[in-house]
């Protein structure tokens, strides 16, 4: 049984409906990539899993999220809070703003293990120092008594990762953990994170818009397009035989070594706006294979020869 099973959830924020029937699963110890262009609903999906959607004024209107056999939709906030940080942890998009600027780094990591594991101050500190060291930060003790502004962005993100690991969660949700960082350290941080997750056998939902990162780190991938799932498949399959035209475009756009500069082409057309999604398949204005049916009818997310895809005309 999957550790996390998200079944056709839809979300509304005010009059907007940014997510429509999102479906995917994550197994224990699995790394699932969640990819899609900006605005496709990646962060909102993470908020749904974390149970934080009400904090931004959103609500899940239908569907189900089952975590380790427990239905999360309708779960009382007080019980959800015991999962957050303890069994499901978040690594946020922007390390620069994710730490409390006037509280010592150490106290912010200690807080998690004190809260969820009931550790004493000394035990929590020892644990935090160990975690800091595991993230390959030199001089853990000095970092433990530093303030966030004294650290670089990369260091801060390592601290956020340490914080996520502090209570030994089963699932980590990482929302574009490196986009705010310098390109040179992005790969390094992803690598450290993936290593720690693999070592501990944790499940990771890795949100990114970088197919290179997906290829490097993930077991399976969910491709989102404008608030819907376009395709979900194992990593080998998705690169070898993408079923959805949008996935094909994404893969085509990965920059490759030895490629002539300037030959890099984005996907033609623009991402549709949430206030004006096209009828039928939302990818139809940009799709080379689009036909009449695509404009009239929403393609269902269906089982293909491998994985799932939502396209009227995808082969097999």
């Amino acid at each position: 049984m999957a550790l996390l099973s998200v079944q056709s959830i839809s979300v509304s924020i005010g009059k907007l409906n940014p997510l429509d029937g999102i479906t995917f699963t994550i197994d224990k110890g699995e790394i699932l990539g969640l990819v899609g262009e900006s605005g496709s609903g990646k962060s909102l999906t993470a908020m749904c899993v974390m149970g934080l959607l009400p904090r931004i004024g959103g609500a899940i209107t239908k569907g189900s999220i089952v975590f380790d056999g427990c239905e999360l939709i309708g779960l009382p906030e007080i019980e959800f809070r015991r999962l957050r940080g303890k069994r499901i942890a978040l690594i946020s998009q922007n390390p620069m703003t994710s730490l409390d600027p006037i509280i010592l780094i150490g106290a912010q990591i200690d807080q998690v293990s004190k809260l969820h594991l009931g550790l004493s101050a000394e035990a929590a500190k020892a644990r935090s120092l160990d975690l800091i060291a595991q993230l390959r930060i030199p001089e853990p003790a000095a970092i433990h008594r530093a303030y966030p502004h004294q650290l670089s962005g990369g260091m801060k993100q390592r601290i956020v990762i340490a914080m996520a690991l502090a209570a030994d969660p089963d699932l980590i949700v990482a929302d574009e953990p490196t986009t705010a960082l310098d390109v040179t350290i992005q790969a390094q941080i992803i690598q450290i994170m993936v290593e720690l997750v693999r070592d501990r056998g944790l499940a990771l939902m890795l949100i990114t818009h970088d197919m290179g990162v997906v290829a490097q780190a993930c077991d399976r991938v969910v491709v989102l397009y404008s608030g819907r799932v376009a395709e979900m498949n194992a990593i080998g399959e998705i690169f070898a035989e993408p079923k959805h035209p949008y996935t094909r475009e994404l893969i085509r756009c990965i920059p490759r070594l030895g490629q002539e500069p300037g030959s890099l082409k984005g996907i033609p057309g623009t991402v549709p706006s949430i206030i004006d999604y096209p009828d039928g398949c939302r990818f139809n204005p940009r799709c080379g294979d689009a036909r009449e049916l695509c404009r009239a009818q929403v393609p269902a997310l269906e089982r293909k020869s491998s994985g799932l895809a939502a396209c009227h005309f995808s082969e097999v």
């Binding site: 974390m50 934080l52 904090r55 809070r81 015991r82 999962l83 957050r84 940080g85 303890k86 942890a89 978040l90 946020s92 922007n94 703003t97 994710s98 730490l99 409390d100 600027p101 006037i102 509280i103 807080q111 998690v112 809260l115 969820h116 303030y147 502004h149 956020v160 914080m163």
Partner: protein, 308 residues
């Protein structure tokens, strides 16, 4: 932290000098010769000259200033003309009254203001928020002398709960403290509420929720702590305003204090006393700002390191 403190202290020196020049000049800016205020109407020019020499008024202005400042720094503020006592004594006699009134009013504004502001922010949109906001609006628009008269009418004259005036017993402090403090409560509550609501929208607060920290802990240990920074700034800037409030309130309640001393001596054109009292008020304002800076630095590492 020590170097931060020394830096702030050094910065106050030019401010103090500028303020002292202004206070010194007051005597020389008022129309008429200050000597005329000292002597009898029909005294001779010789008598005038003798008096001028006695008070050093025959010397050039800059020398007079230097002497005055030098004396003031050693605690000698000269003699009161009307009351014929050392100004320093008069001030020493009055300062405890002003200090207790000011400190209590400050404490009252801070504690009650932060508590109401925090409640309004935590329960924003609820009846608690709406009620406090209405009271805050009332509290910040009513002038303090008017509020003072109102409180006297109601609690002292009508109900007879507190003395109408004076400073003979502790309960004589309550109405004056309320009069100065209520405006402060309104101000502090408003700043606290807005700052908490602004902080609550920050990424790190969402992260705290994601860590599973209980909401009351997030509000009190993190959000309120951030909100206190602007509150401290406002309060340290408003020390002067609170002291100014004390001036009118002491007058309304006929309490002794620096404010009463200032007003009486102004009416009597007793300039050495006016100068001394103003100098004390200026020093109090500067110490208030310094204290605010220090509290902020203690609370925010970025202020300590001069980043913010």
């Amino acid at each position: 932290m020590v170097s931060f403190f020394l830096k702030r202290l050094l910065l106050l020196i030019p401010v103090f000098l500028a303020v002292s020049v202004v206070i010194f000049m007051i005597v020389h800016l008022v129309p008429g010769d200050p000597i005329d205020n000292l002597v009898q109407i029909n005294s001779s020019p010789e008598q005038k000259a003798a008096l001028a020499a006695k008070y050093g008024l025959d010397k050039p202005l800059y020398q007079q200033y230097a002497i005055w400042l030098g004396n003031a720094l050693t605690g000698d503020l000269g003699d009161a003309i009307i009351l014929r006592r050392p100004v320093a004594d008069l001030i020493a006699q009055n300062i405890p009254h002003s200090l207790s009134l000011g400190a209590l009013a400050l404490l009252f504004s801070t504690v009650v203001g932060i508590a109401t502001g925090a409640l309004a922010a935590i329960y924003k949109g609820s009846w608690i928020d709406r009620t406090t906001m209405t009271l805050i609006l009332l509290g910040s628009t009513v002038p303090s002398f008017w509020l003072g008269l109102l409180l006297i009418m109601l609690f002292a004259v009508q109900l007879g709960w507190f003395p109408v005036s004076g400073a003979r017993s502790w309960d004589a402090l309550i109405l004056p403290v309320l009069t100065i403090g209520l405006g402060g409560v309104a101000l502090v509550a408003r700043v606290t509420r807005v700052a908490m609501m602004e902080t609550a929208r920050k990424d790190f607060v969402m992260m705290l929720h994601a860590k599973g920290v209980p909401p009351w802990q997030i509000e009190l240990r993190h959000v309120l702590r951030h909100a206190l920074l602007p509150v401290v700034t406002i309060l340290s800037l408003r020390i002067g305003w609170i002291l100014g409030g004390a001036v009118t309130v002491e007058f309304v309640f006929a309490r002794p204090g620096l404010g009463s001393l200032l007003i009486t001596s102004l009416n009597q054109r007793d300039y050495p006393v006016v100068q001394g009292a103003l100098l004390m008020l200026a020093i109090a304002v500067m110490l208030g700002t310094l204290l605010g800076d220090i509290i902020q630095a203690a609370m925010d590492p970025r202020v300590r390191e001069g980043i913010k």
